[in-house]
Amino acid sequence: MSPLAITATLIALVGASTLIGLVWRATTGRIHEVVPSNERIHVSELLAGAVAGSSATLLQFSTEFCSPCRTTNSLLGELATEFPGITHVDVDVTSRPALADRFSLLQSPTTFILDSTGTVRARISGAPRIADLRAELSRIREAA
């Protein structure tokens, strides 16, 4: 390959990678509303001592070697103290692949927003966007 062609290839590689990064940034952490199903999740079955919130539960699934999971854990914990009626439950699925299958988890962290009956109303893949989540939780609080 000529030096020019090689340079062009490398630039294209960097360009494509930048594009991937920007697309990822734009899409990660978004709240995706879910059509309510009949399935009810009882968090106490997933994690001993877990308590569902009276208005909503932030159910987070994490794995062991995952920095964004820890960041999300802090964030959701803070939000749970800020909004009474909303609790945060963090389930480590590192050694529980069956759970990961049951909820079709593709990446960690994945967060479900459960309503008061334990029905999944929304899914968030990746570290949640703080502003969007806060707005969503305010909306839930107002509706309650």
Partner: protein, 182 residues
């Protein structure tokens, strides 16, 4: 340790516990950046050579692009086993870069970045094996994959390990010793 600025709430859980050695969180991203640049060099060198793979194993092993790629792979082995704190790039960061930056707002647990080194190792090992086996463009393809991962990590703080760990877990590729008793 007194902090001049409060640690952002989102980063609280990453803060290393008192008594554990933590790392400056910018260090791994610096390392990923160096790796990305070196991988670009590998790809450039590889593309500037002949298109067909060299005939003998010895010739393939002696190509500059491969030698550099092998060095990168060894560095991943180092990072994955000794941990990112005891890594040459970590040393470079502490000696050259960090003195020029302000102090970090907090120190983080080195375990997730060390796992990422393992991810890098798997990708580059594929490239090493394919190249030595004489597969055309085996080196270039996997160097490109490794580049994309390192670039995304360095520039966008993207965690490839987080993305694929669950998928590998569900596929049964990763099995933890804890499972034996579960």
């Amino acid at each position: 340790m007194t902090a001049s600025k409060p640690i952002p709430a989102s980063k609280q859980a990453l803060v290393v516990q008192p008594g554990d050695r933590g790392i400056d969180p910018r260090g791994p991203r610096f390392s990923a950046g160096i790796t990305a640049v070196l991988l670009l060099l590998v790809i450039g060198l590889s593309l500037s050579g002949a298109t067909a793979p060299a005939a003998t194993l010895r010739e393939r092993a002696g190509q500059p692009a491969f030698i550099l790629f092998a060095v990168i792979t060894v560095l991943f082995v180092w990072g994955a086993s000794a941990g990112v704190s005891r890594h040459p790039y970590g040393w470079l960061y502490r000696t050259l870069v960090r003195p020029r930056l302000g102090a970090p707002t907090h120190l983080e647990d080195p375990t997730p970045p060390t796992f990422s080194q393992g991810v890098g190792l798997v990708v580059t090992l594929f490239g090493v094996v394919l190249h030595l086996a004489g597969v055309p463009y085996g080196l270039v393809i996997f160097a490109a994959v490794a580049f994309i991962a390192a670039f995304l990590n360095s520039v966008f703080d993207y965690c490839l390990g987080c993305q694929i760990y669950l998928l590998l877990l569900r596929a049964g590729v990763i099995r933890l010793k804890a499972d034996a008793s579960a």
